[in-house]
């Protein structure tokens, strides 16, 4: 077990940031913390990285208590805070060397590790540049290199791709995926596709609590199946209407013309059943042309929106 959190609570002057939080993360997992702003993601990460203590409850990282064995825990964690603060006046290699020495690495070991992380994070071209002059994408890589330099068992990244452009996001995401082969990774994010693509497990937080924790696929399944089908068929409008009306399983349909002879039909099945084989049979029997047929699925976004919707909004619905 890499992280064991039980009944963790953090109160700031009168307001509760994290409330009775319990979860575990296994070695080698990449876990994503998802949630709206103020859900308690950053607070949880700050407690795990020994920056602030919790009001009550316990947290253990690699079997060590974050309150009583803080220095040992810090040695086994690589932490990149939100917005990735760096010393802008230093050069990249110099900064990483400084951080390595601060984390207790010996002289030759720190040189060796700095070279390794510079290569790993693709910083070779900029290793002599001043950090303050780097682009946001490179800064993020410097932050990642810093988190990795002392070979931690656990890497905690708070919103690692915030403010990056799509190509930079892709690079950072690829780096995080590679990290997962050697380290346990805990990342927080608002960006759903990112979590969907990089994480083995997603924990959705709101108001300091975990609302759901499962693989992205299982979370999607938990929303239940939808009976919405989209089909694009080349056939006369009247024939299509007649066909759907005659099909007992179709509860509701809608037809819109597409380019050429094609019509885009969106169909809702009775009881959420899968209509695709039936539609295919009908098209084949009538010798129509079919160019698209798919069932709409719930995305992680639907799960996220449903779970993180404020309670007041739910009540009014």
């Amino acid at each position: 077990m890499m992280i064991e959190v039980s009944n963790l609570t953090k109160r700031y002057a009168g307001n509760t940031a994290v409330s009775d939080l319990s979860f575990t993360v296994n070695r080698g997992e990449i876990v994503g913390l998802l949630g709206p702003n103020g859900a308690g993601k950053s607070t949880t990460m700050r407690i795990l990285s020994c920056f602030i203590p919790a009001t009550s409850g316990t947290a253990r990282v690699a079997g060590l208590d974050v309150f009583t064995q803080a220095n040992e825990v810090r040695r086994s964690i690589g932490y990149m805070p939100e917005n990735n603060p760096l010393h802008d006046d230093m050069r990249v290699r110099e900064y990483l060397k400084f951080r390595a020495r601060l984390k207790g690495l010996g002289l030759s070991r720190s040189r060796q590790r700095v070279d390794a992380v510079i290569a790993q994070c693709g910083l070779n071209d900029v290793s002599k540049r001043i950090v303050g002059q780097l682009s946001k994408g490179y800064r993020q890589r410097v932050g990642l290199a810093d988190a990795l330099v002392h070979e931690p068992q656990l890497i905690i990244l708070d919103e690692p791709t915030i403010g990056l452009d799509p190509s930079q996001i892709r690079v950072v995401r690829q780096l995080i995926k590679e990290l997962g082969t050697h380290h346990t990774v805990l990342i927080s994010s608002h960006i759903l596709p990112e979590v969907e693509m990089t994480c083995n497990r997603v924990m959705i937080m709101r108001d300091g609590r975990i609302l759901a924790s499962d693989t992205p696929e299982n979370l999607e399944k938990s929303m239940g199946r939808t009976g919405h089908i989209i089909a694009e068929i080349a056939a006369p409008l009247e024939d299509l209407q007649a066909c759907w009306e005659s099909m007992a399983e179709v509860a509701h349909f809608n037809i819109a013309p597409c380019e050429g002879d094609y019509h885009r039909c969106s169909l809702t099945a009775v009881g959420g059943q899968d209509l695709r084989p039936k539609i295919f049979d009908a098209v084949r029997d009538r010798n129509w042309k079919l160019r698209e047929l798919f069932r709409l699925r719930h995305s992680l976004e639907d799960v996220y929106i449903r779970l993180t919707r404020p309670e007041s909004e739910e009540e009014t619905r």
């Binding site: 020994c50 220095n71 810090r74 040695r75 964690i77 603060p85 230093m90 207790g104 810093d146």
Partner: protein, 249 residues
């Protein structure tokens, strides 16, 4: 220990990465040089029985201390808190005490570097005065001991002020205000001077102006040393408590 040395080197380096270090040194050199010129003119006009270190320090010394201390120290914690690097620093396996002592050490080392031009002025004077014994190494040593002791007091005040806030300007103002309070406290006992009471004794203890005069005269009083060291430890302890306060706030 490794973390302490790494951090002190980094902090000391920061003074020279930015303009601030050079500007402070340039200001101090200008004022020291000005004192030197005034001193030479005085010596040309009439001979004086006072040690030249005492005359030197009666001119621009306090101006340099009062203004340089806030500028040297304002950045130490406030900048890190403002930019967020405080969080990355405090999540490395370095104790809070090591962080406070390292930043203080860097500030005091820089402060002493700032006073090196004074040593050069005095040596120039010694060279041209050809063997007269107006400058004995003991007086010079005690002068620099005095400069160092006032330095540790003002640097620890600066550390404390910088730890209180994210804003460097606010940090500098707090540090300047406390520093100025200590400076003016030296004038408080003047009206009371002839009386013998505990108030006078207490005010004499914090009378840094008189103490500095004694140091420049070559008088080293252990009571003064005890005062500066305890005051410095006190302010560093306060700094440590402020840094630590994130744990119980």
């Amino acid at each position: 220990m490794q973390a302490y040395i790494t951090l002190t080197r980094r902090e000391l380096g920061t003074f020279f990465y930015s303009w601030i270090g050079y500007v402070v040194i340039a200001g101090a050199v200008f004022l020291t040089g000005l004192s030197f010129v005034i001193l030479l003119r005085q010596l040309q006009a009439e001979p004086t029985p006072m040690p030249i270190t005492e005359i030197f320090l009666s001119l621009c010394y306090w101006l340099i201390v009062l203004f340089s201390a806030p500028i040297i120290t304002m950045r130490l914690f406030a900048q890190e808190k403002y930019s967020g690097t405080f969080e990355t620093l405090m999540t490395t396996p370095v104790s809070d005490i090591a962080v406070v002592v390292a930043k203080f050490s860097a500030a005091i080392i820089f402060y002493m570097i700032m006073w090196l031009p004074l040593l050069i002025c005095i040596l120039v004077l010694k060279y041209f005065s050809r063997g007269s014994n107006m400058l004995d190494p003991g007086t010079l040593g005690s002068t620099f001991l005095g400069i160092f002791l006032v330095g540790i007091l003002y640097m620890s005040i600066g550390c404390f002020a910088s730890a209180l806030t994210k804003n460097q300007i606010v940090a500098a103002m707090i540090s300047f205000a406390i520093g100025l309070a200590f400076f003016f406290a030296s004038y408080l006992n003047e009206p009371l001077a002839p009386q013998k009471s505990w108030e006078v004794e207490a005010l004499n203890t914090v009378c840094i102006l008189e103490q500095m005069k004694d140091f420049a005269r070559g008088v080293v009083d252990t009571r003064y040393i005890a005062f500066y060291v305890t005051a410095c430890v006190f302010f560093l302890f306060l700094t440590y408590r402020v840094i630590e306060s994130r744990r119980w706030k």
